[in-house]
Point group: C2
């Protein structure tokens, strides 16, 4: 059955998924890159980025591999697509990821501002959705076919889908660093009241993995 998933969603100890002051220099906000080091060294990450058989194996690698498995479409918030706010000044901005983004499937970007679809190399096409999270999910579900829909982030987008009880599974990777400020996943969010409980918990030297689901 098709699932709606959030995977490999890295958080600081104090709950931040991105640091403050996102910019061209700091796509994940100041200090935000530290949250992703655990994943960057894994074999699954290297394999997905042309690195062949390099990288670590084990639990962290298993979670990265799982995060990439069976994904038929993505949904991203506007800020995860880029640092531009407000209306698109032109079509120059094509995402953070260069000509061949690591998605390779349709990606639905939530925005208030219409824009033509943007076909990239490697099978990624960015579609800009202006009629809300449910419309974006309907389109992503249809595009994904038998496969799952993965919600990439950021926090505001994940929170909206959680509040609407539209996320089936949420894998958090809690990293032992403090950010102190930025985008906090838990701010104002009562996950038990939304029906979420901890389904899996396993820690490695680098990170504590927690999988949440609804009963």
């Amino acid at each position: 059955m098709q699932k709606v998933r959030v995977d490999a969603f890295s958080l600081s100890l104090d709950g931040f998924a991105a640091g403050p002051r996102q910019s061209l220099q700091d796509p994940l906000g100041e200090g935000g890159m530290a949250l992703h080091q655990w994943a960057l060294g894994t074999r699954a990450f290297h394999a997905a980025h042309g690195g062949g058989q390099q990288g670590s194996t084990g639990i962290d690698d298993d979670f990265v591999a799982r995060s990439m498995h069976n994904v038929g479409a993505w949904i991203l918030g506007r800020n995860m697509f880029g640092p531009i706010r407000g209306a698109w000044p032109d079509d120059t901005w094509r995402g953070w990821w260069g000509d061949d983004p690591p998605y390779h499937v349709p990606v639905f970007v939530l925005t208030q501002h219409a824009r033509e679809p943007l076909a990239m190399a490697g099978g990624t096409t960015f579609h800009f959705v202006t009629d809300g999270i449910e419309a974006a999910l309907a389109r992503a579900r249809a595009a994904a076919g038998e496969r799952d829909v993965r919600i990439g982030g950021g926090v505001a987008t994940v929170q909206q889908y959680l509040r609407a009880r539209l996320v089936d599974e949420l894998h958090l990777a809690q990293v032992p660093v403090l950010l102190g400020a930025g985008e906090n996943l838990f701010a104002g969010l009562d996950l038990p009241a939304l029906g979420y409980t901890v389904k899996q918990h396993v820690a490695t030297p680098a990170v504590t993995h927690i999988v949440l689901g609804r009963d």
Copy 2:
């Protein structure tokens, strides 16, 4: 050198150290007891509560033992001492812990409402301090002599001492449960801005231990 410590401070995955609606029935708020299960089964906890050589050993036990070691005085917030708010109606309330509280040293309780010291069995005396956190710490430091001062909680008390940069070491035990509401340690607290960084990180099947300190 004498240290000011917070130890075995249990948090939910979403940052809560206590659940909502503290009451006589729920001293740790609704759901709060789930945060402390990792400690209750350890040998150090059993030994401190008359259980002899029962209980688990290993990393969790080591942290519980360390939390009890070399403590010469405690500081507690009013709500950690009891569920009564406002002026003391009488001297009937003597803490949550029965006649022989598990402190066995002087305990300084922060309150707006004066009350005579309360000597309990086993060496615990509760002193009620009405002139603020720095006065309480000065008295606790003097009472502790060569030993350390431990700040027990709750969240509001720990936050006040952290904001004043008066805590030398903070051991957090993050438990894989969600509370969704209650007293959140990280709410409005920028630990890196206060000089705190992660000094130690070790996970067990039950809990992720993190020790924070200032450079």
